[in-house]
Amino acid sequence: MNAPAPDSPAWVHRFAVAALVVTIALTVGIGGTITSTEVGMAYPTWPDINGGSLFSFFYGELADRYGLGSVVEHTHRQAGSLTGLLVLATALGAWLSKRADRTLRLLATLALVLTVGQGLLGADRVLSNSYLGAILHAVGAQVVVVALVAVVLRSSPAWREPPAALPADVLGFLRRWTTLGMALLFLNLFAAASVRQKQGAFAGHLVLALSTAATWFVLTVRMRRLAGPPRLRRRASTLLHLLSAQVLLGVGAWAVLLGPLGGSGDDRTRFLVQAVVATAHLLVGVLVMAAAAAIWTEVRHRLRPHAS
């Protein structure tokens, strides 16, 4: 049974939210831009660039000596460091606070370990120029996001509310299919990252994307029709809208990268459009993952079967 969680301090929750926002908006956003513009190896050392540390803000000098690509790469590393510091603060807060429960502490620690691992994967990607490393780095980013979503939810005031109830067969269905949906999201993410790194065929990503989208479309539509928990219905609506946007962006990304619009316009404009659409597709993909993770967490831990 899901017992109400103890009251965790608000600032732990705020740090977790900040870490999640920075991770998605900055670290993943800039990371996606790097892959979209293919400047990941603009400066192949790590963590220093031209003798400067992660916390050197010499963008003008970098751009002049090593090109704008190295500035994008350096900024990504700095954003990753900021993510790391915020996750560290969250984990420290969870352990230092007497009001945080054991699960929250373990989740925050797991998020920290995953974030450090993700940084090391990024280093390996640069130092060994490894495509497998690049694919795992892309997947790892979203693993971190999922872990942070769990920390955010677990530390939120809403977590202390009593669990909502659903009929046992409905709850069982949701638990099975949201778990399958999460697995599909990660498989599709692996496929998408492989295509981005030119190590996998687009057809594979297409089939996995359609399967994933169809599964979550059906699930979210069913959740919205439930008579039960309003929070779950709201989250399902959010995910449904994100999925719709993601499908449209996917079609757009195909059209400008591989499809009929791939050869139109002058080179620089086309490059810019391709980079923007591909990065937006990645960013909305991360939001889909975060929203799905929130639903999965809700279904697994915040719902209970009707007492009969």
Binding site: G69, S128, N129, L187, N188, K198, F202, A203, S211, L258
Partner: protein, 336 residues
Amino acid sequence: MDAPRGREAAALGLVVLAALLGLWLLVARPVAVAPAPVQPRTFASPEEAALWALVVERTGEAEQPRPFGGVGLPFPGEADGGPRLAMGREVWRTQCMHCHGFDGRADTPTADLLEPRPRDFSLGIVKYTSTEAGAPATRDDLVRTVRNGLDTTAMSAFRGLPEASLRTVVDYTAWLLVRGDLWTRARAALAEGLTPEAALDRAWEATLEDWRTAPDRVVAVPPAPRDAAALLEEGRRLWTDPRAGCADCHGADGRGRGPLVWDAVAERWLLRDAWGREARPRDLTTGNLHGGRTTPDLYRRIHAGVKGTPMTGRGELLEPREIHALVAWVRHLAER
């Protein structure tokens, strides 16, 4: 209850099958690559356009390269290059094209974001080679560059590339380079007043001969003298010696802003390289030595120069001991 459970099991089976199909397609189908921009070639005259048509007729297009009229690749022992060139082109498309461009001209938007700019192969020049001044690169030079990368540049080491892919992409890169060299020489011959056919014929044999014989023109590196302290002192003195001329470009302090290349008043670079870009001598104090930092790398760079740049070789002017002394001083500047 049984009917809904049956439907759910069927749906579950369908989704799992779709996922397996997706994974299979991911690895079984060819990798799609967004088409790289292709800049149209511009020609100074109709004769130059006719000359380019002849070059293409003999060597093929970037997407359908031919091994130089059936005479094989210009490297010894490479008799049948056709299939290997086609394989190399495939590797090129996924690994090299986004920086070096559709046909090796490095005219991509990604290249605009990188400094040093990825190499434009259309002139047939490789900056860092083991060969003497005026000689092209050897196959080993290209293999070494792809495998080890160029230090502190976006050209990173491709150590994870399978050996077959590495070999074939080197074949293809060599094809681009030799074609670029051929085009440069033929254009020069055309400028002398030859017809396009005669210009190409003159350039053809000379170009292929130079690339074939490049391994015979590798700069031999004698063992370094053992008296390290004296050698370093000699290198420090030679650095500003007009015979070596290092400080003229690299500056007395090695920071790359010597009086021949940097206008300190107008704050602008004075010289250009073969590609028409600002020639910026290396700031050695950063420790960044793009062409490699081993003794043979540095010795050969001082001996033969950096091709396509104002840094000419000093092999004719300096004794081997003096070159070793400069190697010691360069290393001192880079590592202190």
